[in-house]
Symmetry: D2
Subunit: 458 residues, 4 copies
């Protein structure tokens, strides 16, 4: 509904000792990852003591809580499983594109979940089709699955097949492969997409975010390294780091907006990074800048607002009530100017802003239409000044690694100066975080900043 | 619910001129074929003027009227399509096994519907997997689809690929393949499964039964020949008869029970064949045999009863009321002896049978439990004698070509003499049609009588 | 879908000893009565050992099998209950009009089910509203319930309140009232609507048709007398006949079409009455009348056709295949002339009618449009002559007692001569049963023949 | 899921000029009131130019967005309507208890929505039943509707009937009555429940909260006075203040927790009242009290936390991530100690609390179990001290006016001292707001403080 960039997916996998059931833990893990994809959800589980890959699969359009009920969770029995939440970027919004992808192959059944985007999927797919491999979906995740299956015909074990497949992949991917007796996790060599390893007793988990491991009652062991392949078997875990390299490029947008603020990704707590982004914005203010209130756009701007307020000593305060009951099925007003229903979702706390000079903080501006209405709402309720501060640099370039901005014509910053945008959204002033501030946010870390800088790692 | 053999599937395909829509006609065709499979239904359509194989697919568990509503039919837009109704025999009762099977392959998308059973599916599937072809379903129909796709890599057109694939198939199959610009129909060389060609104006149709072509407003052209491959393109139809041979073996059970009695299959009207089976039964009665009423078990025994009555001059009459509202979702009584709810489905017209000697006709006895209860119902309502006549020979051998009797232990006739069965069902006498009577029913026609004779054509 | 008069409703009630559960028996009873109403279904049950009238209620639009599943039946616990199937005539097709009607009143809860129509409902309703009694539905059944509740304030027990209420009712009604500790059944003094008493062990049942009692495993005791009030308590049954009179007027249409042919109503088996109607038609043929085949329109004309054939010695035969999968959700063709989809529902058995002179029998002609298409179908398939015979007299007058023909403009016979109708439906000849033949059908019985004769009993 | 008191209901009504449609505006109004009841939702509308009270009604269990879709809103056509969201307190959680209540009475149809609770409902209901008025629901709202209907028989217009009915009512109620040509709103003489009047052009609205009026595009005119009856007709509004008195008793819990913080109720902005409650807590701290962080439990404690932080100069900060995807259908962990899934809903931002002395603010403690887990979560993540501050006094007495705490045994404060509770929840210190602080919060206003003081206004 809002003017946001969307992350593609979240993944969760778990391998517990025989006799334990993983379905409910995967359900908790996926619920904790729901913010990464609300379009479809799915889970595949099996029993490693049973027939090879005799899986139970459930996937459908909808939220985790819509796709799974107590009865379904009861049917999903087994000690090994993978789950997925999806917001479609490539492949389109079709039920058959929901994940896990489950295929019967020469060694039994293989189930795969994938967060990210392969930039060479079309070329790989064409090769596959020339080999007679048919596709049921239009996703690059199925391309990835076929690469693993093809490699498996020449490799002695599934983890070697995953490595062999990885040699031919380009793009960003955090992927979990469930083979009859193994759970294999792989992160692309740049580490564009996050993947974390955790455990609960003798059970191992891998997930897109640390918060999911904690939601399933586990504790974080460590991040999977960029390019690393971790294999869980009944005998424990082992690691293949042969594809790891020095050049890493973590997606900065995980820290800016995608991830939960309680997650710790590649060693940095997201909330902390967001607060520091707010501080960095405050440090860059002109010496004489004055205001009465620092307010964040809920919920994405609140952490940076707190950081900005702490540094600037301008009081932090809530300026909006957010209606949390407005979801995908909300029926929007018909008339165009109100069509995104910002006023239904956000309403202003009048006493908080009346006659105030407000610093309004949000994480990003994509198309700019929502921010315009928010500024308008503040003014209508008596705000004297509205100074918009964005806790990321201007969004100028498309992302090819699994987010939903594929061309720059949708990006207001791509074709307009900061002054023009400021005028367009009706703010008194507008400023952005700078690329140089990323080090303040997350320290010296290899980053992908392509959407801001145009420098693509691949 | 009743003691019946089940046919696996029904297929329907249609290719209309560009600009016309086939979805509703396929819906009518499938509705007319619903008796051939009530477990799942599906349809795939596309527009031959559009992108290659950009299909719309809808399939689900349930009846045709449950899977399709007006909105869904509206979305299924295109001038070329195939549809399917399914009763699972191989592959199990799983949603992903519903047809059409739709796969993206090197030439676009291929959709396939299949009635029948491949006896060499396992061997073919293993070869496919060694080639890296993954399966999403557990059906032999997907095996068949992959054979076509693999052959397509070596053949210049889809119809040649179908023929090349057919060379390696064993078993019974009537199959429709929808390739981006063509509709290809193929019948196995023995002609085990029926497939009929029809037209409506410039549109061509292929269907499992003639009744479906008429339901869609078309007229029958002719039966597809055993082994023939018929290809419909925008320029009309063409036929490849290179796989046709002299040895045909049509399934006799289509005439005995599977098909609608208004259908004409391989030149013989089903109703007519059934009446003649009744006559043949009457002819075989002992000279002094007397009775007061010839009654059929509704609906499967009614046609033969009419034939029996006409020949024997014993009056035909209805003996039962059948409750047509008892379907799959009916909740059966819990106590075992009434568990099949025969008394709910059938009730006796008392005045019709009281103090009467009844000849009771049905098409077959599989396990025998239903017939026992029907005889009991008649006696409880005052029938003096009950003479059971079956319009097919004793069912002794399993069928491997797409019906649901896979081993002979389920067949009462396999382990018991006619006298024993007569006693078991509580009848005064019991007799069957004889294999020699088939010629009376359908004339001199190559038949598969394996389930009665044990002589399998393959 | 077809050109039929519709009965309004079916009712079923059961009072079993404490500790037994009636829900499943009511479910079977209602399933057996489904032909009397397919629009909505409902059931109310309670435990007479529990709190007074603490009922569980389930009612909804749809068939019995759609409204009730195993889970719902499990929740409906109690030893006393009433159920209902409905086809809306008065009150409109709205979910809140489904029955049972359940009301909390001064003595606990009252649940009521009703088959029939009150001709003075509007006047009674106005009086009720002047007393401050509000209505939640637009049905006359709620009017009836309020009459009982109002009377209860002045009567010592519910059965007396039912009798007092009955004194003010006009029209046709078979009604079951469930009061906290009693089940009361009442039939209008003319006996327009049927109501039968049965038992199974110590449990008593009342139902619209005997077939329902048998479906629930019970045996028929007797018909409730016109005007009789039967009360079932834990101590057994008692009868109040103070409103019974000599002038009875049973609805002849129950025998012609409404009831199941295995039901016995007021002493006459329906199947037997229908066969005799066919005989009566045959008796009235001109001496030289010749034909080759007597065929009934399935299923309503089959019994009379059997009777006609037996008397006339013209062979009986099936002429149609009926597709039993076409229900309420069937999507009809869009073009007007095929809009009632007769050709989808019925198809002709070609060999049966080709070059034949056919006597075609149906139970009634209401608007005439369906019969026209059936005659056309026969001719298209080669019938040489089609002689239509109707096993009831011309339908001339509206019915005010609970069927759905409220004005005569919808009745083709009302404005047209038999010759005109014959021409309109395209038959070679057309004739009807005569009112005088009713005695042949059902013997000397007080009948309501208002729809044919215009002589209304009330 | 959490340890919260629940408000019973929210109401919304609208009367627009003939030709306009109110359904979508009511939908927006109800969406804005969703926090007041998530169990069922409903709406009744009609066209005042049409037949009297020919209403369209839709109500069901579920959220506003689940009960209404675009199709349903399209069917709900009319310029006058009322809507309701419900959390069941009296009457139980049954579909038939959803509102609006719609009854056909002597003047057409009446639809009623009600927020509150009648304390004399049982006595009134018994009187009604002695008059023969049957009940379909177990709610006091139906009792209220019958009082209006009964009064209407003696009054010349519906607004007079409402006033006459009100004379006999005891308890708290904000009620909207829709009569064929009028919309009548009434607030109980103590003003226990809120009701606000608004307008948009010539259309008038009444709603439980001002936020709902704004969500429907309207502007607030004023609060309905305690005891006032406002009638909207096509000619505008009129007011009957004859039942207004000087003794008002507004529910203080609307300001503490029930209402949205952007609503203005009886002249006081809720957010402002909550911040002042936080300030009042800070003022009461001991002189030497020190801490490092003021954090609110999201979302109910955030406003008071902001107020506390501003006064105390201890930094405000977020301490939790809240997962907004955990709703009613969330499947909770099975093991008892985690059964309320607090850790799934709330997770701690580690860097925010590590080694900090935390002041933790929430609006109330009902049973105390949730707070115990929250304190535990903070400690586990490194908080050095946890000082719990509650922005309302100890909750000691049940509420009889429409919230869901009916007896004091569920209230931890009722049987335990503050010291005991502090120990039980594991806090370092615990203190509450005092009744004397209410004046700081909302000024000199007549309040119902019964749940804290035991002084009931009625």
């Amino acid at each position: 509904m809002f003017d946001k960039l969307h992350e593609e997916c979240g993944v969760f996998g778990m391998y517990a000792p025989i006799g334990q059931s993983v379905a409910k833990d995967i359900y908790y893990g996926l619920t904790a990852l729901q913010h990464r994809g609300q379009e479809s959800a799915g889970m595949a589980v099996w029993d490693t003591a049973g027939e090879k890959g005799n899986l139970t699969l459930k996937k459908d359009m909808g939220l985790v809580s819509e796709v799974f009920d107590a009865k379904t969770l009861g049917i999903l029995s087994g000690n090994l499983g993978v789950g997925h939440v999806r917001y479609s970027t490539t492949g389109g919004s079709r039920p058959e594109n929901a994940q896990p992808i489950a295929m019967h192959y020469i060694k039994g059944t293989l189930a795969l979940v994938h967060n990210g985007n392969l930039t060479n999927a079309d070329a790989l797919k064409e090769q596959q089709m020339y080999r007679g491999q048919a596709h049921y979906t239009t996703t690059d995740s199925e391309v990835l699955a076929y690469e693993v299956i093809s490699a498996r015909l020449q490799c002695g074990c599934v983890e070697d097949a995953v490595r062999k497949a990885a040699e031919g992949l380009k793009g960003g991917y955090a992927v979990l492969v469930m083979s009859p007796r193994k759970l294999v996790g792989m992160r692309d060599p740049f580490g564009l997409k996050p993947l974390i390893l955790g455990r609960r007793g003798e059970a191992y988990m891998m997930a897109s975010e640390s918060a999911a491991i904690e939601a399933a009652g586990g504790e974080v062991i460590r991040d999977i390294r960029p390019g690393e392949i971790v294999t869980v078997t009944k005998d424990g875990i082992k690691s293949d780091t042969s594809l790891c390299s020095d050049k890493v490029a973590h997606c900065i947008f995980e820290y800016i907006y995608f991830a939960r603020n309680d997650s710790v990704i590649d060693g940095i707590e997201v909330q902390s990074a967001r607060m520091k982004a707010g501080e960095a914005l405050a440090k860059r203010e002109d010496p004489g800048f004055e205001a009465d209130l620092v307010a964040g756009v809920p919920d994405s701007g609140l952490s940076a607002a707190q950081g900005y307020a702490a540094y600037s000593q301008i009081p932090f305060g809530f300026a909006f009530h957010k209606n949390s009951y407005i979801g995908r099925s909300f029926i929007k007003p018909a008339n165009e100017e109100r069509a995104d229903a910002v006023h239904m979702k956000l309403s202003v706390l009048k006493s908080a802003v009346k006659n105030k000079r407000v610093v309004l903080i949000d994480d990003s501006i994509v198309r700019g239409n929502t921010m315009k209405q928010i500024v308008e709402l503040l003014r209508k309720n008596g705000a004297k000044e509205v100074h918009v501060r964005i806790s990321s640099p201007p969004f100028l370039h498309p992302c090819f690694y699994g987010t939903d901005v594929a061309n720059s014509s949708q990006l207001i910053a791509s074709g307009h100066s900061t002054e023009q945008i400021c005028e367009s959204i009706g703010a008194d002033s507008l400023s952005y975080l700078q690329i140089a501030d990323f080090e303040t946010m997350v320290g010296k870390m290899g980053l992908c900043t392509a959407c801001f800088s145009g420098e693509y790692p691949v």
